[in-house]
Assembly symmetry: C3
C-alpha cells in the first residue's frame, strides 16, 4: 500500500519515466514486506518549484506514503536509494531533493480498508 | 474542513467533473458533521500514474484529509462509496483505486485556524 | 525542512510567482528556526477546484509540511500571514482559502534523513 509521488521542475522523458517506475518498484523493498505489486507511482514534471529561494536549478519533492510504520533503518535505506535513483536518472542534485514520509492509519482499496 | 484530491491517468470530461463534484459532495456525509458546505475538491486528470508496475489501465489515487478524527465505520462507508462513484463515473477498476486518509490537527481558513 | 504547496483554480503570472516566492520565504519565519534557506515551494495554477460546491470563484488549497512540531501561536501567525499574501496577490477571498498543516517525523534530504 505504498504511494510515491515525485514532483520536479525538470522534464521527465518517457525513457526516464519507465526507468523511474522500474527502479522505484525495486526501491520500495527497502521497507519490509513492500513490493511493486502494491506500489502506486505518480510522476509530475515541469512543475513550478522553488528551493532555497531559487528556481534555476533542478529540484524534486518526493512524497512517500505507507500504511503503518517503518524503522529508522528502513527510512535511511529508502532515502539513500531514492536520492541515488533521482540524481542519476533526472540529473537533480541530491541536496535539492526532499523526501517526505507519511505513515498512514487508514487506507482504502477495492471498496474497503486495509 | 475536508479536502478530496483525486488524481488519475484517464481524462475527466466536464460532465464527469460536475458529476464527481455532486457525488463527492454527498459522499462526504459518510463522516458525521461533514457536508459539501465545507468541502474542497481538487481533480487532476491525465496524470502519469503507474500501479503494480503497469500504466496501461486506468488507476486513481484519492487523498482525503479531515480535521480531527473519524470512526472505522465512517472510513469503511466512505471507501465503499467513493470507490463506487469513481468506478462507475470514470471506468476505473475498484482494485486500481487507492484512498489515503489523513487526520489533521491544524487547519487554517479565512485567516485563522479551526 | 518546510514545504509549501499551493494549488489554485486561477492563473499565477510570472510576476505573481516571484512575489509569492519572496513573501512565502519571509512568512516561513513565523515558525521558530525556519527560513527560506530550507524552504521548498510548489505552485500549481489553473487547477480544477471546487469549494462549497462551486468552481466559479477563485479558491486555493495550501499544504504546509514541517519537520517536527510548532506551537498554536506559530500556526495562527502563519495562517494569518499566508491568507493575507494569497488574498492580496492572487485575489482569492480569504474565506475560500484552506491551509492544511502536517507535522512530519521522517524527512530525507541529500541522501539521508534529518
Amino acid at each position: 500500500m505504498p504511494h510515491i509521488n515525485l514532483k520536479t521542475n525538470t522534464t521527465i522523458t518517457p525513457y526516464q519515466e519507465a526507468e523511474l517506475k522500474t527502479k522505484f518498484g525495486k526501491a520500495i523493498e527497502c521497507f519490509s514486506g513492500k513490493t511493486e505489486a502494491w506500489l502506486m507511482i505518480s510522476l509530475e514534471d515541469n512543475r513550478r518549484i522553488w528551493f532555497k529561494g531559487d528556481n534555476s536549478q533542478n529540484s524534486a519533492m518526493i512524497e512517500i506514503q505507507l500504511l503503518g510504520h517503518a524503522s529508522n533503518k528502513e527510512y535511511d535505506n529508502m532515502t539513500e536509494t531514492v536520492c541515488d535513483i533521482v540524481n542519476s536518472l533526472l540529473d537533480i542534485p541530491k541536496d535539492r531533493i526532499y523526501i517526505k514520509y507519511e505513515e498512514c492509519e487508514h487506507w482504502g482499496w477495492n471498496g474497503s480498508n486495509f
